[in-house]
């Protein structure tokens, strides 16, 4: 079966097999490995994408169910020439340790600032409650995002 949808603003058409996940389709079918495959049960947030405007775990989305939808992955957030403010702030704050959880945090944080440009500390923490950093590097991540929230990022 062929599924047609939009990824990072580009129309794609890709073969899928029921009941495979969107995460597998992105990584293996479309060559977009930014979304990470870790828990496969929606616990870790490392596969976070934005599906039709909503932050979701791509491991819990059936690939065949995205026909006609619009998906933004971490590859669609910022660019090497112009980082997204979240990416810039995380880079400045050294908010990356092993880096595995980073794409998920970037997508979740970008979604938060899209909806709420000046979140409180509590709102930042709640928005990131579904993303786990196994290095436990939360301090630097939160400091980076607080700078974005207060507009004091460099």
């Amino acid at each position: 079966m062929i599924v047609e949808f939009s990824v990072n603003g580009e129309q794609v058409s890709a073969p899928v097999t029921l009941p495979g996940s969107l995460l597998d389709l992105l990584r293996d079918g479309l060559g977009l490995p930014g979304s990470k495959d870790a828990c496969e049960q929606g616990e870790c947030g490392s596969c976070s994408v934005i599906l039709d405007g909503e932050l979701v775990c791509s491991c819990l989305v059936m690939a065949a169910d995205v026909a006609g939808s619009s998906v933004t992955t971490v590859e669609g957030i910022g660019s090497e020439e112009a980082l997204h403010p979240v990416q810039e702030a995380m880079h400045q704050a050294g908010a990356v340790q092993c880096g595995f959880c980073t794409p998920g945090f970037v997508v979740a944080a970008a979604d938060l600032f899209e909806r709420n440009p000046h979140p409180t500390q509590t709102e930042i923490r709640e928005a990131l409650a579904g993303n786990i950093c196994r290095c436990t590097g939360y301090g630097a991540i939160l400091r980076a995002l607080e700078r974005v929230a207060t507009g004091s990022a460099q």
């Binding site: 079966m1 029921l18 009941p19 996940s21 496969e40 049960q41 929606g42 616990e43 947030g45 976070s48 909503e54 932050l55 979701v56 775990c57 491991c59 819990l60 989305v61 059936m62 065949a64 169910d65 026909a67 006609g68 979740a108 709640e126 928005a127 409650a129 579904g130 993303n131």
Partner: protein, 264 residues
């Protein structure tokens, strides 16, 4: 056709028979798929059905997400919604999907049991409405037939103003309940208590309810007796998440604390 993307309930029902899996938010089904426990071969995807997302007064469409309930739901249901998974899960997961999965730990279930909600099921030939207690049949088992779709949840028109939800788990976010409960108290003093994760289905604690409902201004000793009765009424098991003893103990304490919130 392996997957159908209907845009109306009637269209969805036309394709729903034995062997066809309805797909709502996917937050339960895809975990089963990813771990090799489920292999749906024919799917009816419900995400594009606007009717199921309608929420009018006390009738909540089955496609309403936890994100919306967290924002717009009655107090204790909104409190429960806020503890469903993470933002990612709440954006996808729906109240109808929660019912369809019928996990004993379903966060939305105690509220529905506490207020005596009914569940609307539609097939291509008829629509029926079941009391919550008839809908839940066992662990992950419901009265839904293969040709039926859960279309809505109906709440009573007058909800008790005092209502509280609580959940015991190992952390504050992203946690499956060890025990969860809702307590409501009406102006006339009538109390309802419903609990999750302590029996194969959500349950009420009728002896605790009857005892505390008969007292206009409960004293500390009454609260302790209420706690004891609730602990005595639950039927928990020991599993990887907790023990029977801890759940029994926790159920009584949680119910008492929620009642105290309702009495303030």
């Amino acid at each position: 056709m392996e997957i159908a993307h209907p845009t109306s309930v009637n269209e969805a029902l036309a394709g729903l028979t034995e062997g066809v899996t309805p797909l709502a938010g996917g937050t339960d089904l895809m975990v089963e798929v990813n771990f090799g426990h489920a292999r749906p071969v024919q799917v009816v995807a419900l995400r594009r059905i606007a009717e199921l997302k309608e929420w009018e007064g006390s009738r909540i469409g089955s496609g309403v997400t936890w994100r919306r309930i967290e924002r717009d739901g009655p107090t204790a249901l909104a409190e429960a919604a806020r503890t469903v998974g993470s933002p990612q899960i709440r954006n996808a997961g729906t109240i109808g999907g929660n019912l369809g999965t019928a996990s004993p730990a379903g966060d939305g279930h105690p509220f529905l049991a506490a207020v005596d909600a009914t569940i609307e099921l539609a097939s291509s030939t008829a629509t029926r409405t079941l009391p919550w207690a008839e809908f839940f049949v066992g662990v992950k088992k419901t009265a839904r037939r293969d040709d039926e779709l859960i279309t809505a949840v109906n709440l009573p028109g007058n909800l008790p103003e005092r209502q509280a939800f609580g959940k015991i788990g190992v952390r504050n976010a992203m946690v499956i309940a060890t025990v969860c409960a809702v307590v409501t108290r009406a102006d006339d003093g009538r109390v309802t208590v419903a609990l999750g994760s302590v029996a194969p289905t959500p349950i009420r604690a009728p002896r605790g309810e009857a005892m505390i409902s008969s007292i206009t201004s409960p004293k500390d000793t009454d609260l302790i007796e209420f706690q004891r009765l609730v602990s005595d009424e639950v039927r928990p098991i020991t599993d990887h998440r907790s023990t029977e003893e801890y759940r029994r103990h926790g159920a009584g304490i949680l119910a008492r604390r929620l009642l105290e919130r309702c009495l303030r």
